[in-house]
Each structure stands twice: as structure tokens, then as C-alpha cells.
């Protein structure tokens, strides 16, 4: 676990840089906000409505397919590293696993999930 101290320290130091920068900037920058200045930018037009709108469902479908394949990679990694020791049996086994996933991809493909329009 000792090695992960580095990860935490890197994160903290990395976060400190912008914090220090912002504090420094706060000392010298001007601050006179007006309501017009703080309006949402919409190419100079008066903004209307919310920006946080319901969005095209396509994006969420991709997110679902992504989860499947991301989990797949988690399964593949231990196998990939130990392949030499595990030998032919593991290879065949993983090929079956991959085939099932590829079938899923083909299914999604043919069902036009991967298309935008």
C-alpha cells in the first residue's frame, strides 16, 4: 500500500497548484461583477431557458454498450498477463468469452444501436 501514498500525494499537490494560483490571482485581479457580465453566454443574445436539457438518447445507449466492454476488459487483464502460464486451455476459454462479446457487438450493430440517425 505504501506505493499508493505517491498517488495521493500527487493528487494533493496537483490540486494545490490551481488553488494557490487562484488565491494569488484573487489578490491582484479586479472584481466588479454585474448581472449582464454574469449572464450565460449565448453568442450575445439574451439567454433563454436552461442549459441542462434532456439529451439525445443515443449518448446513453453508447454509455450502456461501453459499460459492457469496459467490464470485459477488466476480465481480460488478469488473463492477458498470465496467459503464458495458463496455456492453451485459457486461450480457448477466453476466445469463447470474446466470441460471446463479439456476438453482442454484432447484435448491437445489426440492431442499429451503433448508428446516429
Amino acid at each position: 500500500m505504501e506505493k499508493y501514498v505517491d498517488v495521493v500525494v500527487f493528487l494533493v499537490v496537483g490540486a494545490l497548484v490551481p488553488v494557490i494560483g487562484l488565491i494569488m490571482a484573487a489578490l491582484i485581479r479586479p472584481s466588479n461583477p454585474t448581472s449582464l457580465k454574469r449572464a450565460t453566454y449565448e453568442c450575445g443574445e439574451v439567454p433563454f431557458g436552461e442549459g441542462m436539457v434532456r439529451f439525445n438518447i443515443r449518448y446513453y445507449v453508447f454509455a450502456l454498450v461501453f459499460v459492457v466492454f469496459d467490464v470485459e476488459t477488466v476480465f481480460l487483464y488478469p488473463w492477458a498477463v498470465q496467459l503464458r502460464k495458463l496455456g492453451m486451455f485459457a486461450l480457448v476459454e477466453m476466445f469463447i468469452f470474446l466470441l460471446i462479446l463479439i456476438f453482442g457487438l454484432v447484435y448491437a450493430w445489426r440492431k442499429r444501436v451503433l448508428e446516429w440517425s
Binding site: F103, V106, Y107, R110, K111
Partner: protein, 497 residues
């Protein structure tokens, strides 16, 4: 053994061949949704699914031979004990294949009429069947969980297959949200059991000495009770036991009718199989806390189910409550485990499967002729389809538990077990409940025989698939009621393992 020379993996594969075949056929069915075109695609896919189920049923043979041969084993661990081959598992696996086959047969016309995606429908039924078989064929909690998830996820999608019907969507969403929580609860129960005993394998769990574990004494009892409640909660959701039944009426009503029929016997039966593995046959040695819980749940479940069923006018909703009540009767078998309730549960599950599928086949028969799902749609059925009306009477008698039907023996064995276990009062509660249930089953019989059919309606033609299903269901109901000996023999040799 003939395959002694084969590698262990291959030998193990031979015994799970039915599952492998079904999974492959289910995958091929999915591909059937986008490969090739043809007018009769739906029918072709149904045939394919049915063929796969028949082959899978035949593929049970090597397992049967192993278990009954001269050197017959009691229980063989497969794939490092992740699965087992035993008489108990074989019984349920055969039942589930039969259930799936009947579901495929009685759905064909409905799928065509309602334009359901045929490839996905049949494939999901088969996947659910595989999940159910895994649940029954394992003594490893993790495998049971995987089987449960395979069944559940297929079920969620099946419930929502009518994508343009708001009720079907509601059914799917309700089932999915509550079901996923139930699965999580079940998983948490498993983790507690694992923490207490250090294993997820039920056989290894029997060997655990409660006095030699990390937690002992009162703490052990409390944690064991908590674990039991969580596991019972997770699986109790699938069998729609009170207080985990709230999803059932809405889901049963909204889901496509053949799917409703499937839910009422398939995933439910598998959950009972898993409960049997885990409770009376599993952790009974470690703790008896669950028996009291089970008794209370059984009483509330059957009473609430029956009383609510009395108020329903929608047949699917009524059958949902009826199936909750039936689950209550089955749970009595768990509470009476000491009196041999496990065998009663096994018999009840298979008897109930055929009866209830028969009832749903009759409803589907009406729906192919555009009839609604109200009790009134049964009006005058005795004149319009006399044979089917007669079959319906048999099924309803079976549900009540009248002699000469399988339902009678199912209740009889559970009654007996309850009395043996010193729970006579529970048997009385069950009998009273059965009497109450006559109230709502009778409405259907009355409408069929004593009410005139609507003006201008003639005879109703029956589709071959429905005819076969109803015939098989009727025959099985009567056969199990008149000559239950072979089945009872098999059960008594497997439930006492």
C-alpha cells in the same frame, strides 16, 4: 463410466449439456432476429426454440444414467463444485425445460398477433430457463446468484417487450427496480453467510462447526438470523412472498400474457429450488432461526394473497394474487421442513407449474379471439369451447386442491409435513385459506357454465400450440393426481440427500 478417458472438463460438460445446448440455441435465436428474411420468421424461431428444448431435455439422459446406474452417485460436483449433478437438480432442471417448452408452444400465436420481437422473446425465455436450471443445479451460492441474475434480467426485458404499451413499460420498470434491489439484498445475505462460515459452498457450509467460527454464541444467532432474512428477502421477492409481493400484481397485469404465465411458475419455481437448497437442506444445521420467520411469512402470504384475490376483476391480477397465495402454501412446506416438507415443496412446484401454465393457456386462447382479461370474458365459454372450459375446470380444481388432481396431493404432502412437524395449526390455516380461494375461482367457473355467451358469438377456434399445451397441462394435472407414485419416489430419493 463410458467417458472415463475424457478429460475432467469434458466429462463435466457432458452433465451440463442441456444448459450448454439451451444457451447456444438462445444465442442462435438472437441472431435469427437479423439474419435472413421470411414471412414465417416468428414461427420458424418458435420451432427452433422448441427443438432446442427437446434436444436439451434428451440431453438430460447422461445425467440420469449417472445418477440411477449401478454405481449411481448421489451428488457429483462439477467444475470444482461450482455446479452439481444430483437427483434434486435433475428433477427441477427437467421441470424447467418442460415449463419453457410449454411457454414457447402457447406463445406463438400471441407473439405473432402482438408483433412482439420473436427472436428476443424466445431467446430470453431460453436464457431465463438456463438461469433457472443453474439455480437448481448448484450448491454454490455464487452460481445460484448468477443463475438468479440471468433469470431476472431476462424476465425484466420480457416484461417490457410490448414497447408501445405503457402498462408493459410500467411492469418492466417496477419489476426491474424492485428486482435489482432484491438481488442486491440476496447478495448481501450471501456475503453475511460467507463471513460467518468462511465459505459460499453449501456442502462445505454444512460441515462448519458453529462453535469453531470467528463469531459464536448470541452474536452467531443474531447474524445468522439477519443473513436468513436477507436471503429470504432476496428470493422471497422472486416468489412474491409478502412483504416482497408488491411488484407482482402490476407486473403480472402489464407484462405480455404468456410472459405472465411464465413468471408465475418459472422464475418462481427456480427461487423455490434455491430456497430449498439454502434453507432446509443447507443452513438448517447452522441455525433454526429461519423456521420461525418462514412460518410467519407463509401465514401472511397466503392470507393476504387470497383476500386480495377476492377483490379482483382482472383475471391476470387475480391470478397474481392467487399465485401469491400459492407461494404461501409452498412456504408452509419450508416451515415444516422437519416433517419432510422439502419433498412436498418439490411436488407442489411441479404440480403448480402445469396447472398454472394451463390456466394461462386458456387465457391466451381467449386473447387470440380478441377477448379482454376481465372475468366477464369467460362468459359462456362452456358453449363456445366446451373442451377448453372443461380443462379450465380441472385447472381451477387443481388450484383449490380437490382430490384426483395434482393440486390435492401437493397440498396433502405439505399438510402432512406440517402435522408431522408439530405445526397442525399451520395446516388448519392453510385449509381455511384453500376454502377462501374457492370464492374467486368459482367466479370463473360460474361465468363459463352459468352465464350466457355474448350475443352473436360462435365457437372459438383453438390454435395447435394452445391445444397441445392445454392437453399436456390437463393430462399432467390428472396424472400427478391419480398416479403420483413415480414422481413421489424420485422426490423422496432426492429430497433426503
Amino acid at each position: 463410466m463410458p467417458a472415463a478417458a475424457a478429460t475432467p472438463v469434458m466429462a463435466d460438460l457432458r452433465l451440463v449439456l442441456p444448459e450448454v445446448i439451451l444457451a447456444l440455441v438462445a444465442t442462435a435465436l438472437l441472431a435469427g432476429g437479423f439474419v435472413g428474411v421470411g414471412k414465417n420468421r416468428a414461427r420458424l424461431l418458435a420451432g427452433m426454440a422448441l427443438g432446442g428444448l427437446v434436444v436439451a431435455f434428451l440431453a438430460l439422459w447422461p445425467g440420469y444414467r449417472e445418477l440411477t446406474g449401478a454405481e449411481g452417485n448421489n451428488m457429483m460436483g462439477l467444475f470444482s463444485q461450482m455446479l452439481v449433478a444430483d437427483r434434486f437438480g435433475l428433477f427441477f432442471r427437467a421441470t424447467f425445460i418442460a415449463v419453457a417448452a410449454m411457454v414457447v408452444m402457447y406463445s406463438t400465436r400471441y407473439v405473432e398477433q402482438h408483433n412482439l420481437p420473436a427472436a428476443e422473446f424466445y431467446s430470453l425465455v431460453l436464457f431465463a430457463a438456463v438461469g433457472m436450471m443453474l439455480m437448481a443445479g448448484s450448491i454454490e451460492l455464487i452460481t445460484i446468484y448468477i443463475g438468479l441474475e440471468l433469470t431476472s434480467i431476462s424476465s425484466y426485458i420480457l416484461a417490457g417487450l410490448m414497447r408501445n404499451d405503457p402498462k408493459s413499460n410500467e411492469a418492466a420498470i417496477k419489476y426491474f427496480l424492485t428486482g435489482s434491489i432484491a438481488s442486491a439484498v440476496f447478495l448481501f445475505g450471501i456475503s453475511l453467510l460467507y463471513g460467518l462460515t468462511g465459505t459460499t459452498n453449501l456442502v462445505a457450509m454444512w460441515m462448519v462447526d458453529p462453535s469453531a467460527t470467528a463469531v459464536t454464541g448470541p452474536a452467531w444467532n443474531v447474524l445468522m438470523a439477519v443473513a436468513s432474512v436477507f436471503i429470504l428477502g432476496g428470493l422471497g421477492f422472486k416468489v412474491a412472498a409478502v412483504p416482497f409481493h408488491m411488484w407482482a400484481p402490476d407486473t403480472y397485469e402489464g407484462a405480455p400474457t404468456p410472459v405472465t404465465g411464465f413468471f408465475s411458475v418459472g422464475p418462481k419455481g427456480a427461487a423455490f429450488a434455491a430456497l430449498l437448497r439454502i434453507f432446509p437442506l443447507g443452513i438448517v444445521l447452522l441455525s433454526t432461526r429461519w423456521i420461525g420467520i418462514m412460518t410467519v411469512v407463509a401465514v401472511i402470504t397466503m392470507t393476504l394473497g387470497n383476500l386480495s384475490a377476492l377483490l379482483q376483476t382482472n383475471v391476470k391480477r387475480m391470478l397474481a394474487y392467487s399465485s401469491i397465495a400459492q407461494a404461501g402454501y409452498i412456504l408452509v412446506g419450508f416451515a415444516a421442513a422437519a416433517g419432510g416438507g422439502a419433498g412436498g415443496v418439490m411436488f407442489y412446484v411441479v404440480a403448480y407449474a402445469f396447472i398454472n401454465l394451463g390456466v394461462f393457456a386458456v387465457i391466451l386462447h381467449l386473447s387470440t379471439h380478441g377477448q379482454g382479461e376481465t372475468v366477464e370474458s369467460f362468459n359462456g365459454l362452456a358453449q363456445r369451447s366446451p373442451a377448453i372450459a372443461a380443462a379450465m375446470v380441472v385447472f381451477l380444481l387443481g388450484l383449490i386442491g380437490v382430490p384426483f388432481t395434482s393440486g390435492f396431493f401437493a397440498k396433502f404432502y405439505i399438510f402432512g409435513a406440517a402435522v408431522n412437524a408439530g405445526l397442525a395449526w399451520l395446516a388448519v390455516v392453510m385449509a381455511v385459506n384453500s376454502a377462501v380461494s374457492v370464492g374467486y375461482y368459482y367466479v370463473i367457473v360460474r361465468n363459463m357454465y352459468l352465464v350466457q355467451p355474448p350475443e352473436g358469438s360462435g365457437k372459438l377456434a383453438v390454435t395447435p400450440g394452445l391445444a397441445v399445451t392445454i392437453t399436456v397441462a390437463t393430462l399432467m394435472t390428472l396424472a400427478l393426481g391419480l398416479a403420483s407414485q413415480p414422481v413421489i419416489g424420485w422426490i423422496s430419493s432426492s429430497a433426503g440427500m
